[in-house]
Symmetry: C2
Subunit: 208 residues, 2 copies
DNA sequence: TAGATTGTTAATCGATTAACAATC
DNA sequence: TAGATTGTTAATCGATTAACAATC
């Protein structure tokens, strides 16, 4: 795909560029210079040009960047032109919040099933009509379905236990909401959202 | 409080140190060297010593660090020795997931009220017995209560609209789950959790 | 005391910003 | 063409790692 060796910092900024370009499109703006964008996003124009150039020249001297085109290109870089099959492990409030969020679906992130250990939950159907399966059928399920992304919305212990099953089952990425690090082989990607760490960072900043 | 000028990168690592030290305590380990901790956490021992020393010498030459003491000190640095009053704006699934999570309560983050625009929701009581108020009573509420942290679990537009009310109402920190940046004066801290950006980062990494 | 390990300074590495020539 | 703005190289800044003297 695109060039290797893109730094973590740049990757983390791409979705924000994508979001701002989407907003510009909504406003009907279809041309922008790095300096104007830098003003809006509160970053340096230099950084914007530097970042975008890692992926090739999307701009045009004397003109700037074409908004829809750049939006589209960044979308492709992020892999948003593709579709992803997902499962959610856990059927609690957080799991439901994630699977109920329509924005992901719109972008091609399709949740195909949920799993829970609790018999009160499985058998049932969550709000978007997604079936909830018993957790012990996960291994079986992964033999019959190709799943790109698994969302972990379960406690830390369970998350560590389930991870090898996911890896073995051919999952390519794990979106981890459990408060733990996970060990995976390098062909599998873990993206963690540690809510409690985020809250602690807020608490730190409030006090300093 | 502690020294100023601690870099963002260090602050972001503190909660992870805190978590690992907690795990060590659970295992009954009460002494650890930077090199042993570095092995477990997958960071360099040098970085650990460098980081910890920004806040003062918590270790002892030839011995290492006392686990419960270090855990406690990092807790204090993060402000976890204090208690925080919180409100949650929004009463949807995500808002409920956050307010229903017991771990925060345990650490002194007390949710005192929730607010929602939807008449079907307010008046009611969410799962932990937290009252849901009409959103238009927020301003009034903030005159009568001192709130440290507001959680924004509402759409981006609403989040931008509500922010000045929170700022005016004396909130010190905003934990923002809306997909937008927020403008606040510098005495107010915003900590954002952009779930869709996190998912895009995962999607990028899966493809490269 | 000898061994271990921190605290801290110095060296390296990487990321951000500045500057400007290329070019639309 | 003249003006604007990118693409890209060079300079700066900051963060990480290495090294080692201090000291428990």
């Amino acid at each position: 795909m695109e060039k290797k060796g893109i730094s973590r910092a740049v990757i983390n900024r791409l979705p924000r560029y994508y979001r701002y370009l989407g907003l510009l499109m909504d406003q009907g703006i279809d041309r922008i210079s790095s300096s104007e964008l830098s003003r809006r996003m509160n970053v340096t124009a230099s950084q914007i040009r530097q970042d975008l150039n890692l992926f090739g020249g999307f701009g045009q001297q004397g003109y700037g960047y074409n908004v829809p085109h750049l939006h589209d290109e960044i979308g492709k870089i992020l892999g948003l032109d593709k579709s992803y099959s997902m499962i959610v492990i856990g059927a609690g409030k957080l799991a439901q919040a994630i699977s109920g969020y329509f924005g992901f679906e719109k972008r091609g992130f399709r949740i195909e099933a949920m799993f829970d250990r609790d018999p009160d939950k499985y058998g049932g159907v969550s709000l978007r009509g997604i079936q909830i399966h018993p957790l012990d059928q996960l291994e079986e399920y992964l033999k019959e379905h190709t799943i790109d992304i698994a969302v972990l919305a379960i406690p830390a212990d369970s998350a560590r236990m389930i991870t090898p099953v996911l890896v073995e089952g051919g999952v390519r990425g794990i979106w981890n909401f459990a408060h733990t690090d996970l060990d995976v082989p390098e062909n599998v990607t873990v993206q963690s959202v540690h809510l409690s760490e985020s809250l602690m960072q807020l608490s730190y900043k409030i006090n300093h």
